[in-house]
Symmetry: C2
Subunit: 646 residues, 2 copies
C-alpha cells in the first residue's frame, strides 16, 4: 500500500493544476504562447526570458473552492533585440490583458546571449592575439562568456545589452572553474554579438592548482559501514491534489522558475481547526557582491534569482542518495525555454521525513526520564547559479516551528594570481589582498551571500500586526539583593520604517507577527516569532550602486503591507538596474502596517573569506532561522507524540 | 563481529583508566578516601562536596606513553559544618600533597543540605501558620527546599551556609513544578537546619494550570509510520582503551562530575600524520539569572555547573530511543557521593553515528550532479539541574569541523500569580511584568542562559596565536564601476585584553587560532576558526553582584594563556561568591597570549521570554557554534568520501 502511495506520488509530480496557486501547466504555457503569437507581437527575433504564473489576488485565492472557475494569468517578459516588453496574459480567456514596451529596464540575460557573447570573443582578433601572448593558441580549450552586470556601471548599458566577458582555460581538467584567464576582459553587445571593447591589463599565469573534485579511479575513504534509514511502511506524509499533509501540518507548494519553491497556505491543524500560519513563503532574491576592485572583478555583483532564471530556472536537478535520502519523493517542474515553449525539469524538489535523533522535549526527574523522540519533514531544492550551489530547505518541525535553512556549497570563484604561496609576505597575513590563496596561483576572492526571504505570515488570518519586543535593562535602585534585571518593552510597529530592524546583541528584540483580532486562552494575541540565526549585514557604502540594488542586505528584517506586485527584494528587473525598485524603495512610502495584511522579509547573510578547505569544491556551510509559534498554541503542542519512532 | 564490537563497548564503559586524562576509577576514589581518613582530617561530620581528577600538567600528559608510570592526583573539597577545606591527594602515592582551610569561600551545597533546609522549614511553626493562611494544611503535599545563592546577597552568608527556602504544592499532580507557593520564603542555616527568618509578603493562589506532561492513558498523535535507522554491519567508530576513533578523528573523553563530558586529545588523521586540533574542550560554567525582583526571585541566579554538582554530578541518565538512537553506545560515569565514597551513574553519555541526509558537498554542472553524502559522529550528554534539561552535543563532522550544540528543554521556572489571563491589560502587552503567563495563574519568568565553553585548542601543537580577522569597509574613490568593497584586516592579539571580543554585525570578524610555527602548503599558518552561532550578551549592569559572578557573559569570546588551574569561568567556588575569581578577573592581568599555549572561551547564550508553548515542558531549543579548520588542510578534506551511505 505504502509502496503504491509513493509510486503514485512519483508518477504524479506537481505538474497538474488543482488550485489557483499551483504552477503553470503544459497547456497553460501553450495558451500563453498562442495568445502572444495570435496578438501579432512575436517575430522570429522574439525571446521569452520570463513566463511566470501571475499570483492570484489573495482574497480570490482564499475564497476559491474546488469546482469553481479558476482565474489564471501569466506575467510575460518578451525580448526583441534590445527592447523589453511586458505582457499580462489571461490564460483561461486566452487573451492579452496588457502589453507594453518597458523603458529603462533590461530583461534577464538569456543563456544564448551569454554563450553567444563568449563565442564572439573567441572570434575577435584582439582576444586571439591577447590569448596568444599568454601562450594559449588552442581555442578549443578556452571557455568565454559574457555575463550581465546587475547595476548600471557603464553608460552603454542604457541603450544596449552589455555583457562583461571573461575566459577560462580547461587544459588538464574536465571543467574550467579555477582556471581564469586574468587581465583580459571584453565588453560585448550581446544582441549583436559584437565585441565593443577589449581590455588587457597584462598577463597572469593561469592558476594551476588541483581542480578535479571528481577523479577516477575512485579511492573512497576507508572505515565506513552502511547507515540505512528506512520506512518499511512508507512515509507518513500524503500528497493529495497538490496539498501536502504531514502530522498536523498542511501546505501547498509550486516551483517557480524565478524563485524556486514557493510555499502556500501553510496551516497547522489544532484540534478541530485548521489554523493559518503563512499564506506564502519563498526566497525573494539573492545578492552576491565580490570584493575585488580589479578589472573583470569590480563588475561581479550578482542578483542570482532575478538575473539568471531564463531558460533553466533557479533550481537544478537533485540527485537521489546525495541530496535527498532513499525515502524521498521527487517533484518535477515545468518551465519556459527562451523561445517561450515549455520544458520539464526533473527532480527540482524533494520531500522526505527524517528522524532527528533528538528529543522533541525531555525531562529527567530523579531516575526517571520523560520525553518524546522527534522527526521532521524536509522540503528541499537546490539552486545552482554557475559555480555556486545552494541547498534550500523548509523543515517542518512537529511543534509548529518551521526551520528555514540554506546550505552553500559548489565551487567558489577564483582569480589566477602570480603568488604560489604567501611566504613572501612573511607573517603580515595581509597579502594578497581581496581574498586568500586556496591553491597555488589561485585566489578565492572575498564575497558575501545575502538571501532575502519573503514571508507572508497570516497568523490566524490575513490581518496581523508586527511587534518588536525589546529587552531593556532596568535598574533596581532599592533592591537589597540585586542592582539590575531586564524587562520586555513591547512596541507595535505602526509603519514600515518602524519595522526595519537590525540585530544588535546589546539591544536584543523578539520579532513577532501577532493577530490582534484573535486572542489565545491566556488573553495574548496569537502570534508567530521570527527567530534569527547567525546572519550578517552588508558592509558596502549605501550610495554604492551595487548596494542600492542589494539594499535589502543593509537590515536583517523588514515588514511591508501585502502587495501582490512586491515580490522581488531587488526589483523585477535587477539587470543593469539603478536600484530604484525593491524593499528599500518601497518602504520609503512608510505605509501603515498595523492590523492589516503584512509581509515580513528576513535577510539571511554571511561574509565569505575563502580558505583552502573550500577548494576545489566547498564543504556545505549551513545557515538558518526559525519561524516559531509564540502564544499561538495554548500549551506545548508535542505532548502527544508517540514515545517511539518505530 | 560488529555486534560483538558493540557489545564489547557496552560492557566496558569508560570506568577503566588507561591514560593520565581518564576519569577517576573506583579504586582511585577509595585511595582518596583512605588517604584523607588516614591523615586524620575526617570526622563523622565530614562531607565531600567535590572529589575531582586533578588534571595532569599538559606537558606530562602529552609526554606520557603506555607502560610508563602515571601521575594521578585528585582535588578534594571537604566540608565540616561551615568550614571548607581543600585537599590535594597523590593517588598513586596515597598521600596528601596539601591540606588547607579555605577562608571566604563556600563549598557547593549538598543535596542533603538543600532538602534538610526544606524539612526544617516544614517544621517551623511560622511556616506552618503561613501555609495554613493559604489553606494548605496537609504538609505531605508540600515540597520545600533551601537553595544556595551564587552571589553574596545577605551578610549572614559570610559566616554561615544560608539556604534560600521556598515551597511548592503537588496536589493534583505527580510533581511540583508550576505549583509554587508564592510570597513565602525563608532563610535557613543549612548546616544547623535552623530557620533564621521567615518572610511572608502575602498569599497568592497557587497556580492551577495543567502541569502533567506525561498523562495516562496515552493517546499518541495518529498518522505516523516507523522510521528506522539501522547499521547492519555495526557503527564504524571504535573505542580502544578509552580512545575513540571514527573516520579521520581520534579523541578521548572523561565524564567529570562538575563539568560533564571533557574531551581530550582531539586529533585529525591527515595522511600519515595525526594532527592536534584541541587538547581539551568542555563546558566551563553555566550562568542562569532570572529577571524578577520579587522576594523569592531576586535570589535566583544560578551557576549551574559549579553550584550543583555535589552528589549527582552535572549529568543525568540518558534514555535509549529518546535521547540517543537505537544504534548508540552508552557510557557510565563514576562519581563521589557526599560522604566521599564512589558510585556509578549509568548512561551519562552516548556516542552514535548518524546520516545527516545532507551532502558533504555537491555541485551541479549542466545535467550532472557531483557530490558526497555525509554522516556525523555525535557525543551526547544531558545535564539536568532541577527543572531544566540541557542536551549537550559534540558533533564531529567528516570535514574537520566540530559542531558544538546545546538543546534546552525541561520545565521552565514559574511563579504563581493572581492573573488568570492578560485580558485586563488590554492590548498593552505590558503586563504582567517579568514574564509571560504560560497557563492561568502561572507566570513563566524571564531569564537568561549563558554557557561558557573552555576550548583549549592546540592547532598542530600547543603554541598558538589568536588572530581576529576584521572585515572593514574600503572606499574606492577612483573606481569607475563601484564605490566600496570590504577587505580583511588581520590583527594578532598580543594580550588577553585585545582578545576580548563582542559580536557586532556592522564590525564583523573571524576568530582564528593559528600556529605561527607551522605553515601549510600555501604559506599560511595552520589554523582553526571559532565560528559563532546565534548568541547573546548579558544585559545586567556590570556592577551587579550576579553579573560580577557571571561576568563571562558580557563578551562572546575570550582568550587566556593556558593555566591548568583556570578551568571555571565563574571561579572554583561560585556559591555565595564575591565574583572575584573567573575569566573577567584573570584577564585583568592582561597576560601575553602570542605564540604560546592559549585557551579560548566561547559564550553561548540566549535570552528566554517564555511562551505558552514552553508549558508544561519546553520543546527543545537548540543553539550551536562551530570549530572549523581554516587553512588547516591544503584542500577540501572530504573529496574522498564514499558516494553512498550504504
Amino acid at each position: 500500500m505504502s509502496f503504491c502511495r509513493i509510486f503514485f506520488a512519483l508518477a504524479l509530480p506537481v505538474l497538474a493544476q488543482h488550485h489557483p496557486l499551483d504552477g503553470l501547466t503544459t497547456s497553460e504555457y501553450w495558451a500563453v504562447y498562442d495568445t502572444i503569437q495570435k496578438a501579432g507581437h512575436a517575430t522570429p527575433d522574439s525571446y521569452f526570458p520570463s513566463i511566470l504564473l501571475r499570483a492570484p489576488a489573495k482574497d480570490a485565492a482564499l475564497a476559491w473552492r474546488p469546482g469553481q472557475p479558476m482565474p489564471r494569468e501569466a506575467d510575460v517578459i518578451m525580448l526583441e533585440k534590445e527592447v523589453t516588453y511586458e505582457a499580462r496574459v489571461d490564460i483561461t480567456g486566452k487573451k492579452l490583458v496588457s502589453w507594453k514596451e518597458m523603458k529603462g529596464v533590461q530583461a534577464p540575460f538569456l543563456d544564448s546571449e551569454m554563450s553567444g557573447a563568449g563565442e564572439a570573443m573567441k572570434k575577435d582578433p584582439r582576444i586571439v592575439e591577447a590569448l596568444k601572448k599568454r601562450g594559449i593558441t588552442d581555442l578549443n580549450l578556452v571557455r568565454c562568456s559574457g555575463l550581465p552586470v546587475s547595476y548600471v556601471s557603464v553608460p552603454a548599458q542604457a541603450t544596449a545589452r552589455i555583457g562583461f566577458g571573461g575566459c577560462t582555460e580547461i587544459h588538464g581538467s574536465y571543467h574550467g572553474w579555477g582556471r581564469s584567464i586574468e587581465g583580459l576582459t571584453a565588453r560585448i553587445d550581446v544582441v549583436n554579438k559584437k565585441v565593443l571593447e577589449v581590455i588587457d591589463t597584462g598577463a597572469v599565469p593561469v592558476g594551476a592548482g588541483a581542480i578535479n573534485y571528481e577523479e577516477l579511479p575512485e579511492n573512497p575513504r576507508a572505515g565506513t559501514t552502511p547507515i540505512l534509514m528506512t520506512q518499511p511502511m512508507g512515509a507518513a506524509y500524503k500528497i493529495d491534489k497538490g496539498e501536502v499533509s504531514w502530522q498536523n501540518w498542511r501546505f501547498r507548494f509550486r516551483i517557480d522558475q524565478r524563485l524556486g519553491v514557493v510555499l502556500n497556505l501553510v496551516r497547522y491543524t489544532d484540534g478541530a481547526r485548521q489554523r493559518s500560519v503563512m499564506y506564502e513563503g519563498s526566497i525573494s532574491e539573492l545578492f552576491v557582491p565580490y570584493m575585488d576592485p580589479a578589472n573583470g572583478w569590480n563588475n561581479r555583483v550578482f542578483i542570482d534569482a532575478g538575473e539568471f532564471y531564463a531558460d533553466g530556472g533557479l533550481l537544478q536537478p537533485l540527485k537521489a542518495g546525495l541530496d535527498c535520502p532513499a525515502t524521498a519523493t521527487y517533484f518535477d517542474a515545468l518551465m519556459a525555454g527562451e523561445r517561450g515553449t515549455p520544458k520539464v525539469g526533473t527532480q527540482r524538489a524533494c520531500l522526505f521525513e527524517r528522524a532527528s535523533s533528538d528529543p522533541a522535549w525531555r525531562h529527567g526527574q530523579g531516575p526517571e526520564v520523560y520525553g518524546r523522540p522527534s522527526r521532521e519533514l524536509v522540503l528541499r531544492s537546490a539552486a545552482v547559479i554557475g559555480n555556486y550551489d545552494y541547498i534550500m530547505d523548509w523543515r517542518f518541525l512537529q511543534d509548529g516551528t518551521i526551520d528555514v535553512a540554506v546550505g552553500a556549497t559548489g565551487v567558489i570563484e577564483t582569480k589566477s594570481v602570480a603568488e604560489k604561496t604567501v611566504a613572501a609576505h612573511g607573517d603580515t597575513h595581509a597579502e594578497p589582498e581581496y581574498g586568500k590563496l586556496v591553491a597555488p596561483g589561485t585566489l578565492g576572492v572575498n564575497h558575501d551571500h545575502f538571501f532575502s526571504y519573503r514571508l507572508d505570515l497570516d497568523v490566524d488570518g490575513a490581518r496581523n500586526s508586527f511587534m518588536a519586543e525589546r529587552l531593556v535593562q532596568k535598574l533596581l535602585p532599592n533592591d537589597p539583593m540585586r542592582k539590575s534585571i531586564w524587562v520586555v518593552e513591547p512596541s507595535m510597529a505602526k509603519t514600515e520604517q518602524e519595522a526595519i530592524l537590525d540585530i544588535k546583541l546589546d539591544r536584543p528584540a523578539m520579532w513577532m507577527f501577532v493577530n490582534p483580532n484573535v486572542k489565545g486562552p491566556l488573553g495574548y494575541p496569537t502570534g508567530y516569532e521570527i527567530m534569527a540565526g547567525a546572519t550578517a549585514t552588508s558592509l558596502l557604502s549605501p550610495d554604492d550602486p551595487p548596494q542600492k540594488l542589494g539594499a535589502f542586505s543593509a537590515h536583517q528584517f523588514w515588514v511591508t503591507p501585502y502587495d501582490t506586485n512586491q515580490r522581488y527584494a531587488s526589483g523585477v528587473y535587477p539587470t543593469a538596474s539603478q536600484g530604484n525598485d525593491g524593499l528599500a524603495d518601497w518602504t520609503k512610502a512608510n505605509r501603515p502596517i498595523s492590523n492589516t495584511d503584512i509581509v515580513g522579509w528576513y535577510t539571511l547573510g554571511f561574509h565569505h573569506v575563502p580558505r583552502a578547505e573550500d577548494w576545489p569544491v566547498m564543504p556545505t556551510m549551513w545557515h538558518s532561522f526559525q519561524i516559531r509559534p509564540f502564544h499561538f498554541f495554548g500549551k506545548n503542542p508535542v505532548l502527544d507524540l508517540p514515545k517511539s519512532l518505530q
